[in-house]
């Protein structure tokens, strides 16, 4: 998080993490596609010739915000391939929240787990712990055959405490739910740490509503948050407030 007191501007950094080819860039592309002209910046992709992410993708988004604060979001993806470990570490530095994009295909179960442990290790490198990081999990590629069943994911999700969503990022399905939930969690955590709503009369509900509207979607914040298959938001709020 960066807070510019002069221009009253808050910059929040969110990272889309996950194994190679799980659809992190596709998530950003979908969000870019949803956003209106005033909100979105250009999606910057630093990619190799074969369309694989080399360093990262960066999508800047701007919101008016509420109260005395305008909000900029910087959405990053990391390169999923194993060899880009050092780049992942660099991108992860100073992140305010992470969306973990998992591949639903049964064959990718191991890679999901490996990428998650990699995330944990890289966070630790930066002196941070997984449990204090706002995190949502997305099971992407629900349209493919040979995937983990929804029942199985629900069962897994209810055991864990981070919100879990399902998605078909190529069709934009589930992308916004994941994004709104991540932003919500991140806000709770930042607010608990820095008392942003107190200092700047900032209303996070209004921000989330603005996000939803500017993404051309309809529905209440709760409708988006309730699309989760498990996990808690309130638990996070209490813990962050400690």
């Amino acid at each position: 998080m960066q807070l510019d007191f002069v221009s009253r501007e808050l910059t929040i950094k969110l990272v889309y993490y996950g194994p190679a080819l799980s659809g992190k860039t596709t998530n950003l592309q979908a969000i870019h596609g949803f956003s209106d002209e005033q909100t979105r910046g250009r999606l910057m992709t630093l990619e190799t010739r074969d369309d694989r992410t080399l360093f990262f993708d960066l999508l800047p988004l701007r919101f008016r915000g509420e109260g005395d604060l305008s909000v900029r979001l910087k959405l990053f993806t990391v390169p999923g391939q194993v060899i880009h470990a050092s780049t992942r570490r660099l991108v992860l530095q100073g992140t305010d929240g992470v969306a973990f994009i998992a591949d639903s295909q049964l064959s990718e179960t191991q890679n999901n787990a490996r990428a998650f442990l990699d995330l944990k290790e890289n966070l630790r490198f930066h002196g941070r712990e997984m449990r204090e990081l706002p995190l949502v999990i997305q099971y992407n590629k629900r349209d493919l055959p040979q995937t983990r069943s929804r029942d199985e994911i629900v069962q897994l999700a209810q055991k864990g405490r981070e919100p879990v969503f399902t998605a078909i990022a190529t069709q934009g399905v589930g992308v916004l739910d994941t994004f709104v939930a991540l932003l919500h969690l991140t806000w709770l955590s930042l607010d608990a740490a820095h008392d942003l709503s107190g200092k700047f009369r900032f209303n996070s509900e209004a921000l989330l509503q603005e996000v939803i509207t500017r993404m051309g979607a309809r529905g209440t914040i709760d409708q988006f948050l309730n699309a989760r298959l498990g996990g808690q938001f309130e638990a996070r709020r209490k813990e962050s407030g400690q």
Partner: protein
Amino acid sequence: MKRDDGLEPNLEDLTTTKNIRLEDLVDRDSLKEVITSFVNLFGISVRLFSSEGDLLADAVEQQEVCKVINEYPDGRAACTATISTVKHTVPDPTQDTVHPCFSGARYHIAAITYDGRYVGRIVLGPYLPAEVKELPGSLLTTVREAPPSRLQQLLPQMPRARVETVRNIAEHMRGILDLILFSGHKALLTSQMHLASVRESYRELQDKNQRLQDAYDKLKELDRLKSNFIATISHELRTPLTSIIGYSEMMSEGIAGSLTDEQLEFVNTIRDKGEQLLTLIMSLLDLSKLESGSLALVKSDVDIRKSLDDVVSLLKPNATKAGVQLHVDVPAALPTIRGDANRIRQAVLNLAENAIKFTPSGGQVSLSAKLAQQVLDDAEDDIGFALIAPTRSVIEIRVADTGIGIPENEREKIFTPFYQVDSSSTREYGGTGLGLSIVQRLIHAHDGKISVEPNHPKGSVFILKIPVDLDA
């Protein structure tokens, strides 16, 4: 593990657009080319300013009417004032500013933004709006001295455009600039990320190297301790052993009274085994001294012919007993080498002893020496190796046997301490497994080389190469 030396690049600083400056991302010469093409297309002058008001590029067509106005002091003052105002006007990012000139012309000022931030402005003009048909009063009153007919003639030469058209031109130019800025920013980020990644990988490598170095230092220290330990223990073992051997010798010689045959046999066994143990301990001591580098060579001019003759005379009884023929072949004129005669003899003796041990009855063992050239294979470059490979003069000593031979895949390993080709051979042939590793270290101490080749049709040849000009 987190570093706080400030070397770690911060992605936040790299990706923020807060400090983005137009002049950092665009090449001024290329920028001038782009706006010149606009001027060629529309005939309206273009100036580009940074957010701080510095002129970054311009393509200006001097208007005839402006030249005339500037010929008069009042006109020049008014013109300068107008241009100064235009230059310093900061436009609203959401709406372009149109600034009128007393001549009836207009300036169009448009903001350039990147990622929603103001980074500079475009100034288009002067141009004459389509609706200006006659000389405006403000022009006539400002430059009273100028003949109106001349102004009347020149003003219409100024490029005419509708305000709406100029706005579209500005919009188009803004679009192109935005693309240039984006590409520039992307290239900047890519190169910085590249650097950051390389730096991070380098740091990782250095970490690993440090860990390896630490482990290596620790091992070296352990190795030194081990050598010391062996040296000390060997020494301590040798002292009582000498007494055991000495007393059993005295007993067998009957100094303490005569012994029965059986007693004599037992005592002799004690003495034999004691001597065997002593040899092992001496070898261990040698090896540890060689390993720790504490073995001092007593150097003199060594006559190899004499060394080989000594070995042969020492081993003749053994060879005869084993039914093995022992040959020696040394040319008459062989230069001496600078080295430790005892140690060289020890090395050859060890090899010859082995050769006899592993050669069945009826076979032969031959010792030979000759002067040879050794090609050093540690040349720095293999280009032109045939021409520039360094060579040196060596005495080549060969110990050949017709024994059981050494399998090819074992030839490297036999110099390892305690290694034996076939552990069952220890029982059959005896030996400690230290001999060859001691020989190898002795030869290395002489800056020499040892290798082993198969003998034809059977057996092995051990080849020692010891440099002649050791001190040269």
